[in-house]
Subunit: 527 residues, 2 copies
C-alpha cells in the first residue's frame, strides 16, 4: 500500500519522508495495512510557513466562520461515525460501545460545539476596559499551535479533534497536529473531515495541518521554532519534558499534561460504612479504559484495619474476576511491565497479576500491588512510578501521622480523592489531611472516582508539576482551556475605530461579558 | 559600620554572610556608609523553610488580615516618606520631587491599596461554579514567591513594596524579597515598615522576608527550590534568562520582565501635522528617569522626508540642551556605554552624545543615534540592543515596504506606539503596519508615549518573548497581575461545608464576581 499523504499548506500531499511505519491492532496482534510517513524537517518547515500565513489571515477572519468550522467539523464527525469508530477500535483495541461510539465520540463533538459557542460569545478572552484611562485589553491568538495528542483517547484528545485542538482553533490559531503514533488511521480520517470543514467554512486552508511522525530532534525543533506560538502536549513524562526543555529555551509557551498517579485516600469511617461498595467503585474506575486514563486511580491510601484488609481482598478478587482487556499498544504493555517491576523492586508486593498475558494482542494481567506506609516512605519516588494501564498500588499506613508523611511525599498530580463516611466520624481526619492533598493536586474529589473529566467551565484537568508544566492552566474545560493559547494585548489611547470590536464601547453581540471599570457587564459602554 | 541584618524567619538577624557590599551615590560618586551582607545559602535555606511554613499558615488566615496588612503598609510608607525619599534619592540619584516623592511613592501606596481592595473583593481568582455537575474551581495561592526587583524604581517595583510584591501577597503567598543591589538601603527601610505591618495585621511573621544579595549560583538554586511556588523577576535579560533556565528545569513558574526597546512609529502625516510637538513629547519621554524606564522609547521609525529630518534635528537640539542627569549606578553607565558602542559598531551613526560625562557621579551624555532602513536591515539584531539609559536610535526608512521589513524584524517588546495625523491621511499606512507591530508588543499606543504604565485593570505591562517569558501575563495591573502567582484548584463533588468560602452557594461578600454556569454574577446561588 502506498504511503498516506500528509496535510500541509492546504493540501494532502506526499511527505518528504525519511521512513514509514505501520501499527498493530493491539487486540489481535495483527499488523494493520495502512502505511504512514515519517516526515523530514522539510515537511515541518512547509507546515510552519503555511501556519504562519494562516495565523495572519485568521486574525481578520470573522468569528462566525471559525464557529461554523467547529460546528461543521462536529457534524462531519458524526456523519462518519461508523468508520471512525471501526478505525479507532482497530487501532486502539478500545470497545466500540459504549466507550468509542457512545461516550468518547459524543464528548468530542460536544466539546467542538462548546468551543464554537465560546467563539461566538467571546467572554473567554476576558476583555477588560478602563474607561477613565482609555486603556483596553483582551486575550488574543498566540500564533500557530502545535498539538501532540496522547495515545489513550483517539477522538477526545486527538491532536486534530480533541481538547487542545478545539481550544487552539477557538482562540483563533491555526493548528499543526502531530498524530499520536498509536492511531494514525483515525487521525487521518478526522483530519479529512476537519479539512473539508475548513473549506466549507472558508477558513484559510492551512488552519488545520497534519504530520504523522517526525524524529525526536525535529519534534524539539518544532516546539522551539520562531514561527510557533505555543504547543499543547499530552503524553509521557519523558518525551514531554524533552519538548519542554526545547520550548523553554526558546521562550515558547508549552502546555503539558503528563503522568499522574491520582491518589485516593480512603478514610476509615468510609470503609466501615460502605467498604464493599467502594471496592466495586474503585475497581471499575481503575479498569476503565484498561487503566489507561490520565486520571486513573493508581495509588490508594488505606489505614491498617480489618476493613482495609477486606477492601484489598475484595478489590483483588474483583480484578481477578474481570476480563483482561487489551492495552493500547505493545509499547504500553512493555512500559506497564517495566513499571510494575520498578514498583516491585522498590518494595511493593504483587497481590495479583504482574504478568504479561500472552494472547491475543497486547495484554497485561489486571494487577494489584501493596506496600506498607513504612515501605512507601523508604522509596517514595520509585513507588510513585506511573504504571500506565491496569495496575494499582495499595499503601497501607499504620496511623494518621504516617498518612501525613505519605501524602506529604506525593508529587504533583492531576487529581486526588478523599472518601469519608457520611456521619462525620472522618471529619477531623479529613480536616488534617485535605490541606496536604489539596496543594498537590489540580482537582480534589470527595466520594467520587477521578476518571470522569467533564467538559465543564469549572473543570481543572491540570495540576502541579510534574503532572503538568504549570499549575495555573487546565487542558479541559471551556473557557479556561482556551486561555492557554492566547497572548494579552493591550490598547492604550487607541482610536475607537482602530480597536478590535470586542473592546469598542458597543458590546459586539450583547452577550459578551467584559470587565468594565472593575465590574463584569454585558452592556454597551456609555449606554 | 556593622553589617545590616537580614529579615528572615520572622526576625531581623545577622546574615550568614560570605561577604559584604556598599554602594555609591550615583549623583555624587561618594560611597554611602551602609554595609550590607552577601548571604550564603544557609540564609536562603532558612528563609525557604520559614516561607513554606508561612504559606501554610496564610491559607487559613482571614482575607481581612491580608488586606489590613497591605493598607497598613501603605500608611507606614507614607508616614516615613521623608526618610524613604531621602534614601532613595541618595541611592538612585533620582529627583526627590516630583519623581520620588510625588509620583513614585504615591503610585506604590496606591498599588498596595488597590491590592488590598482586590483581596477583599476576591474576583481576581475567577471563581467558577458549575451547579449542574457540582464542579467548582478557583485560583489559589501558588506558594512562596521570590521577588527580584529592578534597579529603576526603588519604590514602585521594589522587591518588598512593588507590583510583584503586592500581587504575590494579595494572592495569599509569602514573599522572599531579594533586594536590588542598587538600592539596599531603601529596601531595608521598606522591609522594616512591611515587617511592622505584618505584626500589626497578625500575619505569619515570615510573610515578608528580605535578603540583600546572594551568589548567582544561589539565585538559580533559589528559583528552582522545591519549596518555592513561583518567581517574579524584573531586570536585565542576561541575568533573567539564567534564572529562567534554572526555574524551567525544575518546573517552577517564573515571570520575567526583561529588556524592551519600545518602538515608536511616526507616520508621515503626524510629522507634517505636529512634528515640533512630537519632538518635544518624544524627548521628554526618552529622558524620563534618564531613560531608565522599561518602557523608554529607544527606537523610532521615521519615513525619509524633510519633516523627518526636522524631527531628528529638533530632538538632537533638545537632547543637547537638556541637563545630563545621573544614571542609577556606575554599572548602568558602563552598560550604556557598551550598548551605544554595539549600536555604533553595527552601523548606527552617533548624532549627539555617545560619551561618558566625567563628573560628578555616573552620567552619560544624552545620546541620539541614527541608521537608515537599509542599515537597520543589515544588522537588525544588534541594532535592537537595549541601550538602557538616555539614548535612542532613529531608523529612517525609505518607503512603506522598508517599514514593513523593519517592523517585521522587531523582537517582542513591552510596548509599541504609532503616531498618525488626525485627518486620516495616515490611515492606510496605519492599517498596513499596525498588525505587524501589534503581534510584537504587549501594549499598543496611539499618539502617546509609552513611559507611563498606569496601574489599571486593563494594563498590560508584558509582551512577547524576549520582553517577558510568556505573552499571557502582565506585571502591572490589578486583577490580572495577581493571577501570575496562583494555581488553579478544582473541587469536584466536594461537600459544601468543605469548600472554600468563595465557592460556596452563598456569595461570601455580596460583591465577588463569580462565573456561575457561564454567567458572571454577584448573587448567591439558589437564591
Amino acid at each position: 500500500m502506498p504511503l498516506h499523504p500528509i496535510l500541509i499548506a492546504g493540501q494532502w500531499r506526499p511527505s518528504q519522508a525519511t521512513g514509514s511505519f505501520r501499527i498493530d491492532n493491539p487486540a489481535t496482534g495483527e499488523t494493520l495495512p495502512d502505511e504512514f510517513p515519517i516526515s523530514a524537517w522539510a515537511d515541518c518547515d512547509t507546515a510552519l510557513n503555511a501556519a504562519a500565513a494562516a495565523a495572519v489571515a485568521l486574525r481578520t477572519t470573522p468569528l462566525e466562520k471559525i464557529a461554523h468550522f467547529l460546528t461543521r467539523f462536529a457534524e462531519r464527525i458524526e456523519a462518519r461515525k461508523v468508520e471512525l469508530v471501526d478505525m479507532a477500535h482497530a487501532e486502539s483495541g478500545l470497545p466500540k460501545a459504549p466507550r468509542l461510539g457512545d461516550v468518547e465520540l459524543p464528548r468530542t463533538t460536544g466539546q467542538l460545539r462548546q468551543a464554537a459557542a465560546a467563539v461566538l460569545e467571546g467572554s473567554w478572552a476576558l476583555p477588560t476596559i478602563d474607561t477613565k484611562l482609555d486603556i483596553r485589553s483582551t486575550l488574543a491568538p498566540i500564533g500557530p499551535v502545535l498539538v501532540f495528542g496522547p495515545n489513550n483517547f483517539p477522538f477526545a484528545f486527538n491532536s486534530v479533534s480533541g481538547g487542545d485542538f478545539a481550544a487552539a482553533i477557538a482562540t483563533g490559531n491555526p493548528v499543526i497536529a502531530k498524530s499520536n503514533t498509536s492511531h494514525p488511521g483515525v487521525t487521518r480520517l478526522l483530519a479529512e473531515e476537519a479539512f473539508a470543514a475548513v473549506g466549507e467554512a472558508g477558513l484559510p486552508p492551512a488552519t488545520v495541518q497534519l504530520i504523522y511522525r517526525t524524529s525526536h530532534a525535529d519534534g524539539e525543533r518544532l516546539v522551539s521554532d520562531p514561527r510557533v506560538g505555543a504547543t499543547g502536549y499530552t503524553g509521557s513524562r519523558g518525551a514531554g519534558l524533552k519538548l519542554k526543555a526545547a520550548a523553554d529555551a526558546a521562550g515558547k509557551p508549552i502546555y503539558l499534561e503528563l503522568s499522574s498517579v491520582n491518589p485516593v485516600v480512603m478514610l476509615p469511617g468510609a470503609l466501615t460504612e460502605r467498604g464493599a461498595k467502594l471496592a466495586e467503585e474503585f475497581t471499575g474506575s481503575c479498569l476503565m479504559g484498561t487503566g489507561q486514563f490520565c486520571t486513573s486511580p493508581s495509588i490508594v491510601v488505606l489505614f491498617a484495619s480489618a476493613e482495609a484488609e477486606q477492601f484489598v481482598s475484595t478489590v483483588k478478587a474483583r480484578l481477578e474476576a474481570a476480563p483482561v482487556a487489551p492495552l493500547l499498544s505493545s509499547s504500553v504493555a512493555r512500559s506497564l511491565a517495566a513499571s510494575v517491576e520498578t514498583l516491585r523492586a522498590a518494595g511493593a508486593e504483587i497481590l495479583t497479576g504482574g504478568t504479561v498475558v500472552r494472547t491475543p494482542g497486547s495484554r497485561y494481567a489486571n494487577t494489584l500491588l501493596r506496600v506498607s506506609g513504612d515501605g512507601f516512605l523508604a522509596a517514595p519516588e520509585k513507588l510513585q512510578t506511573e504504571a500506565f494501564g491496569n495496575a494499582s498500588l495499595m499503601v497501607v499506613v499504620k496511623d494518621v501521622d504516617q498518612a501525613v508523611q505519605v501524602i506529604s511525599h506525593f508529587e504533583g498530580n492531576l487529581t486526588g480523592c478523599v472518601y469519608s463516611d457520611t456521619k462525620g466520624s472522618d471529619d477531623a481526619l479529613y480536616a488534617r489531611l485535605e490541606p496536604l492533598l489539596r496543594e498537590r493536586v489540580g482537582r480534589l474529589l470527595n466520594d467520587k472516582m477521578p476518571t470522569g473529566v467533564a467538559v465543564s467551565s469549572a473543570m481543572n484537568h491540570g495540576g502541579p508539576y510534574p503532572s503538568t508544566g504549570h499549575p495555573g492552566f487546565t487542558a479541559v474545560g471551556i473557557p479556561a482551556s482556551l486561555r492557554r493559547f492566547a497572548a494579552l494585548q493591550c490598547y492604550d489611547n487607541v482610536r475607537a475605530a482602530r480597536l478590535p470590536v470586542s473592546l469598542r464601547n458597543q458590546n459586539p453581540n450583547g452577550k459578551m461579558w467584559r470587565l468594565v471599570d472593575g465590574q463584569w457587564s454585558q452592556a454597551n459602554i456609555g449606554a
